[in-house]
């Protein structure tokens, strides 16, 4: 059983919704990212997604594009992100999902990535522009090294492909709430709930919903029909806003706490 699987089993047993914050490695710098990983874990994250910057992030909206640019200006690489995870993992046990695009991974090499990710304590890898049809032999190599390949499903994904994708995926399914790039939105659409129901009808994998989830209300709304909520741009925007502040880490932690109650409270409240 993977640690991600364990996490979702625990969530289910306690009747608690999962919280998955996203930050970009090296934004504003690697030392801060390491501290943020620890802070977010303390603030109630059940899993953390760590973005590895790419020069051409076609699936991302402006907020995460700018975070990637800042990280790349610092010269941050996939290797740096792995080191950052390894260091943070000395203090925390929350599963970490690497979130990136295919080219930096391809350049790094498939065996090397699987090996070094495992060693660093990375639990899963999600590649935004790698669909299951093109993902062999990457998926197998990752699975052999006990790193979960996570795949996205979208409201536009056909029923036939949902079956195919969920068969290749491990850990959880990441459901995109609506057609579009990453970025905060004022309203959730019904697309997300419909999509989660469709996934549930073909797979037992837990489902996390992301893209556009940015407020405490939206997180609670997602918990009503899915296992976990991913909050990306809203957190990255806080990192950007506070990047010059000495207490950035604490204040991003406070923001995360404003999105979700502590795990123990969530458990008691049964949501």
């Amino acid at each position: 059983m993977s640690r991600i699987r364990d996490t979702f089993v625990e969530l289910k047993c306690s009747g608690r919704g999962g919280f998955i914050p996203f930050i970009t490695a090296g934004d504003p710098d690697l030392a801060t990212t390491e501290l943020l990983l620890v802070e977010l874990a303390t603030a109630g994250a059940d899993i953390i997604e760590l973005g590895v910057p790419f020069s051409d992030p076609v699936a991302d909206g402006e907020v995460i594009q700018r975070a990637s640019e800042r990280a790349l200006r610092n010269g941050v690489t996939l290797g740096d992100a792995l080191t950052c995870v390894a260091r943070a993992k000395q203090h925390i046990h929350v599963p970490i999902v690497l979130f990136s695009y295919f080219n930096p991974l391809l350049k790094f090499g498939e065996d090397r990535l699987a090996n070094e990710a495992k060693q660093a304590g990375v639990d899963a890898v999600l590649v935004t522009d790698l669909i299951p049809e093109e993902a062999q032999p990457w998926t197998e190599t990752l699975i052999q090294h006990e790193v979960d390949p996570i795949f996205l499903v979208a409201p536009t994904t056909s029923d036939k492909r949902l079956v195919h994708i969920t068969q290749q995926a491990r850990g959880f399914i990441y459901a995109i709430s609506r057609a579009g790039v990453t970025g905060a939105r004022d309203e959730m659409t019904h697309d997300a709930e419909t999509l989660v129901k469709r996934v549930r009808s073909v797979s037992d994998l837990p489902v996390a919903v992301g893209f556009g989830v940015s407020s405490a209300e939206q997180v609670r709304e997602v918990w009503r029909f899915a296992d976990a909520a991913v909050v990306g741009s809203a957190i990255v925007r806080e990192v950007e806003r506070l990047s010059a502040e000495a207490d950035l880490v604490n204040r991003v932690g406070q923001f995360a706490r404003s999105l979700v109650a502590p795990k123990s409270v969530r458990q008691a409240a049964g949501n």
Partner: protein, 407 residues
């Protein structure tokens, strides 16, 4: 290992030429790409579709384009007979309209009324704006701020044609950044929007589809050169950015093993990464391209040690791009086609030579093929023929060249 001759160049059903091509996209785009693939293969087998397209290419765009025997260029080279395939005389000024017209007909079949496109030099943007005006479709063109500066005339033309031109400020503010923005728009508007991609690039089915719409160049050229000289040419030569004009010219000659196919990349003004757009050249260590994935397709990509895509440079906006179309990558690795490069300075020289000797002002993109063509013609006997694809006209570049000459 001895390479087998390539006499056919067709992708598998998922758009792979060997390891190249394929579909590397965010999940949201898979459904519209599948729908497009399906509609394209229906249209490909529909004689009514091709009849309507041919009629429009003829009556509206001015096909067939002439194959002109450039006698003064030939005399200047002192070797093989140089023929120019005159795509520059097409409506809107470049080969881009062949593809824009084909895809606009597809968009109409699919009931899409909102058309988006990227543009580098502005030629594809103008072609797209033109077909959208013709069919009464809404048109949004993404263009890098740097390219808008270099190609101000084309920006004005697009706006005259009723298109909305959206300035892209990300990255180096050139073609690659415009494609990123167009892809983001498409992801957000998949239901009503058709992405009219302008080169033989991107996810399947675009590289195949754009080639099929550009093959008309090579089909006509083959017939014309046979009728003019009674035999096949020794060499075909064309500039390669994404590579649509080159693949359009080359493809009908793929099985003619005696015909050398030569693509000319943008050598820019230096050999290190960031100074050129020559994906096949200089060797990986000193800044050439390596196999990778960019904007939906696996091909040769200019990239750094970490797999990040650097800025590229070319005097011509249309060749200033980090990736090359996947079918070219396949033809390169198989040895069927050769790829060389011409520098900014050589392109400017070709621009002037063609203007002065033939009274034809070529686009700076097409100008990259002129000096290499003269060199190659020089090495061949007089009875041989070489066909140069004059993919576009240079009106859009006159101001830029004038500025360079006064500097």
């Amino acid at each position: 290992m001895q390479k087998l001759p390539i006499t056919r160049s067709e992708p598998d059903e998922h758009g792979h030429w060997g390891k190249f091509g394929g579909r590397y996209v965010p999940e949201t785009l898979v459904a519209p790409l599948e729908a497009l693939t399906k509609e394209f293969s229906r249209a490909r087998n529909d004689s009514d579709f091709w009849r309507e397209l041919s009629q429009l290419l003829c009556d509206y765009c001015g096909r067939p384009t002439p194959l002109f025997h450039a006698q003064r260029l030939t005399a200047h080279a002192g070797g093989a007979q140089i023929y120019l395939k005159r795509e520059d005389v097409l409506h809107t000024g470049a080969h881009k309209i062949n593809n824009a017209m084909g895809q606009a007909l597809l968009a109409r079949r699919m009931g899409k009324r909102r058309i988006i496109a990227e543009t580098g030099a502005g030629q594809h943007g103008v072609a797209t704006a033109t077909v959208c005006a013709l069919f009464g479709m809404r048109c949004i063109i993404y263009m890098g701020a740097e390219d808008m500066r270099r190609q101000a005339l084309n920006v004005f033309r697009m706006r005259l044609l009723g298109a909305e031109v959206v300035t892209v400020h990300a990255g180096a503010r050139t073609l690659k950044d415009a494609i990123n923005e167009a892809l983001r728009d498409w992801v957000a508007h998949v239901h009503d929007t058709y992405y009219l991609l302008g080169s033989a690039l991107g996810p399947h089915p675009y590289p195949l589809m754009v080639r099929e719409f550009q093959r008309v160049i090579g089909r006509e050229a083959r017939e014309q050169i046979l009728s003019a000289t009674g035999k096949l040419p020794r060499v075909l030569i064309a500039c390669v950015g994404g590579g649509s004009n080159a693949i359009g010219l080359f493809h009908p000659f793929i099985s003619d093993e005696s015909v050398r196919l030569i693509g000319v990349e943008a050598g820019g003004h230096g050999k290190s990464l960031g100074q050129h757009a020559a994906r096949f050249h200089n060797g990986a260590a000193s800044g050439g391209g390596r196999v990778g994935v960019l904007q939906g397709t696996m091909s040769y990509i200019l990239q750094d040690e970490s797999g990040q895509i650097p800025t590229t440079h070319s005097i011509s906006a249309g060749l200033d791009y980090a990736a090359i179309g996947p079918e070219h990558a396949f033809l390169h690795d198989s040895g069927r086609a050769e790829y060389i490069y011409a520098s900014d300075a050589e392109a400017l020289e070709g621009f002037s030579v063609c203007a002065e000797l033939e009274g034809i002002i070529p686009a700076l993109e097409s100008s990259h093929a002129i000096m290499p063509a003269i060199r190659i013609a020089h090495e061949l006997p007089r009875h041989a023929a070489i066909v140069v694809n004059l993919s576009g006209r240079g009106d859009k570049d006159v101001q830029l060249v004038a500025e360079l000459q006064t500097q």
